[in-house]
C-alpha cells in the first residue's frame, strides 16, 4: 500500500511519519506516534473519548483522516501538563473527582480546553454544551462539570 508522508506538530513538537492511505488520526497518533492519550471508544464518532485539538478546535480523531493533519497543530492530553505540573483542568478533575475509570477523561479534558480557550467564563449550560458529545459512564457528569467550572475560575485568576 502506498504510504504518504505527513508532518504536523504534536503538542508543540515537530512530528513526521508515513501513513497508509485512509488511516485515521487516532490510529496514527496511538500506533504511529505512540501517543496513547487519546482513547478508542467507538471508532464511529459517537463517544468523544478520542477528542484532540486541531489548530485549537476539538475534533474526533477516529473520524479524521490522518492526511488532513498535514501542517496543522495537534494537541492531546499528553501535552497538557507542564513537566510535573498538571494543567489546571487536570488538577481540577483530580481534586473534584471528575474521573472514576478515567476512560472518558482525555476527551473531556480536550473538549474543556477548547471551550476555555474561547470562552474563559462559561456558564454551566455552555460547559454542558461543550461536553455533550462526550459520553461518561461512571460519574453522572456533575463532578466533571464542577471541575471545568473550577478550572475556568483558576485560569481566569492566572491571567488577571
Amino acid at each position: 500500500m502506498v504510504k504518504t508522508p505527513i508532518r504536523f506538530t504534536l503538542n508543540g513538537s515537530e512530528t513526521a511519519l508515513f501513513v497508509d492511505g485512509g488511516a485515521n488520526l487516532l490510529d496514527t497518533l496511538r500506533r504511529g506516534v505512540g501517543d496513547l492519550s487519546p482513547k478508542y471508544g467507538c471508532g464511529q464518532g459517537t463517544c468523544g473519548t478520542c477528542t484532540v485539538l486541531i489548530d485549537g478546535e476539538p475534533h474526533l480523531s477516529c473520524l479524521t483522516l490522518a492526511e488532513t493533519a498535514e501542517g496543522r497543530s495537534i494537541e492531546t492530553t499528553n501535552g497538557l501538563a507542564n513537566g510535573a505540573e498538571l494543567h489546571p483542568l487536570q488538577k481540577a478533575f483530580m481534586e473534584n473527582f471528575g474521573a472514576q475509570c478515567g476512560y472518558c477523561t482525555p476527551g473531556m479534558l480536550m473538549a474543556a480546553k477548547a471551550l476555555l480557550s474561547k470562552n474563559p467564563n462559561p456558564s454551566r449550560e455552555e460547559i454542558v454544551e461543550a461536553i455533550s458529545g462526550n459520553i461518561c459512564r461512571c460519574t453522572g457528569y456533575e463532578p466533571i462539570i464542577d471541575a471545568i467550572m473550577i478550572a475556568a475560575g483558576q485560569l481566569r485568576g492566572r491571567v488577571a
Binding site: C42, Q44, T46, C47, F97, A99, Q100, C101, G102, I127, V128, E129, I131, S132, N134, I135, C136, R137, C138, T139, G140, Y141, E142, P143, I144, I145
Partner: protein
C-alpha cells in the same frame, strides 16, 4: 396537556458478596528494599476506588504512611486468587484479606526491628510516619526503611504477609431449606421527584434525595462520587437503556451510542445524599462499600414516582414514553395518586 408531579420512594437491603463457595479473596503484601510496601491483588479497580481503599487499609494495618504503600492489581495469572470485582464485595472481601496480609507483614516488620533494636517485638510500636519505636521511649527507634534494609541485606528475611478471607460455606438445611447466602448487608432509601407529561409520556426527573448506609465510609469523597455516578446510572436504566428494540422487531434495536439512549451531561439531576455510618462488625474498619447498591433503588423509586404522578404501573424496564402513554390510555386518562 398537563404535566403531573410525582414522588416515589424505595428502599433496599443490599447483599455484600455471596457466601456460596466461600467467596474467597486473597492478598499478598511485601516490602521493597527501601521500606515501601506492595499489596498484590487480583481484584481490579475499574474506577470504583478499590485501589485507594485497599491502600488505606494496608497503610493503617501496617502502621506506615499511605504514601509508602502501593497496590498492584496486575493480573489473575500472577496475583493471588480472588473471585473478582463484582457483587459489591471489593471493600469487604478484599479489604479483609488485605488486613490479614498486612497484619502478618507488620509482625515480620516488628520482629526485624526488634532484632535491630535488641528488644522484644511486643515492646515496639509504629508512629504511622515511617518509624518504629520502643513503647514509652520514642527516642529508641528505627525507621521502617532501615528495618527493611536490615531484613533484606543483613537478616535475610522478607517483610511479607499472606491474607485470605473466606466465608464458611453455608449448607442448605435439608428440612427447612434454610441457608445463609449472605451475611453482610448494606442499606439505602431513595426519594425521587419527577414530572410526567401526559401528552408525550415523557418523564423528567427533577430531584433525588437519598440515604445510604455503607458501614464506615472509608474514603468519604469516593463514596459520594460513587453514589452520584451510580444513581445517574440507575435513572438511566429506569428510563432509557435497553438493547431490546422498542418495536417492531430486534433489528430496530439500538446498534451504537447514537441509538442506545442514555442521559447526557444536560440531564444532571440534583442529588442530595446522606451517608449513614454504622461500622459493620465483620468489615474492614467497618466499611462495606456502596457498590451496585448506588444504582438499584433508583429503579423502583422512579417506577413508584410515575405511579404517583399518573397512576400508571410499569413493571418492565425501561419505562419509555410509549409505555407511560399506553398505561394512561388503558386507565382512561392520567390518574394522579395522593402525594405522600
Amino acid at each position: 396537556m398537563t404535566v403531573h408531579k410525582g414522588r416515589g420512594f424505595a428502599c433496599i437491603n443490599y447483599p455484600i458478596g455471596m457466601n456460596l463457595g466461600g467467596d474467597p479473596s486473597q492478598a499478598l503484601v511485601h516490602s521493597t528494599p527501601d521500606g515501601k510496601f506492595m499489596v498484590s491483588l487480583s481484584a481490579i479497580d475499574l474506577g470504583q476506588g478499590m485501589k485507594s481503599v485497599t491502600r488505606q487499609i494496608a497503610a493503617e494495618t501496617l502502621g506506615v504512611p499511605v504514601a509508602d504503600v502501593y497496590v498492584d492489581t496486575a493480573d489473575s495469572d500472577t496475583g493471588p486468587h480472588d473471585m473478582g470485582s463484582f457483587a459489591s464485595r471489593g471493600t469487604h472481601r478484599v479489604g479483609n484479606a488485605v488486613i490479614r496480609a498486612a497484619a502478618e507483614a507488620r509482625a515480620a516488620m516488628m520482629e526485624a526491628a526488634a532484632e535491630e533494636l535488641e528488644v522484644n517485638p511486643a515492646d515496639l510500636d509504629t508512629d504511622g510516619e515511617g518509624n518504629i519505636h520502643v513503647k514509652g521511649a520514642p527516642g529508641r527507634s528505627i525507621t521502617v526503611a532501615d528495618t527493611a534494609i536490615a531484613a533484606q541485606f543483613k537478616q535475610g528475611k522478607t517483610l511479607s504477609g499472606r491474607g485470605i478471607f473466606l466465608i464458611p460455606t453455608s449448607e442448605v438445611d435439608a428440612d427447612t431449606g434454610e441457608m445463609t447466602p449472605v451475611s453482610c448487608f448494606a442499606h439505602a432509601a431513595v426519594v425521587v421527584d419527577l414530572e410526567v407529561d401526559d401528552e408525550t409520556g415523557e418523564v423528567t426527573v427533577s430531584e433525588v434525595n437519598s440515604a445510604y448506609e455503607v458501614g464506615r465510609a472509608l474514603n468519604p469523597k469516593m463514596v459520594e462520587q460513587q453514589l452520584i455516578g451510580g444513581a445517574w446510572m440507575g435513572i438511566s436504566h429506569a428510563l432509557y437503556e435497553t438493547t431490546e428494540p422498542y418495536y417492531p422487531n430486534r433489528s430496530h434495536g439500538p446498534q451504537d451510542y447514537n441509538t442506545y439512549l442514555m442521559p447526557g451531561p444536560g440531564d444532571v439531576v440534583p442529588h442530595h445524599i446522606a451517608v449513614l455510618e454504622r461500622p459493620a462488625e465483620d468489615a474492614p474498619f467497618g466499611g462495606k462499600g456502596p457498590g451496585e447498591m448506588c444504582a438499584n433503588p433508583l429503579l423502583p423509586a422512579v417506577a413508584n414516582a410515575i405511579y404517583n404522578a399518573v397512576g400508571v404501573r410499569c413493571d418492565t424496564l425501561p419505562i419509555t414514553p410509549e409505555k407511560v402513554l399506553r398505561g394512561i390510555q388503558a386507565n382512561g386518562g392520567a390518574q394522579p395518586r395522593e402525594m405522600f
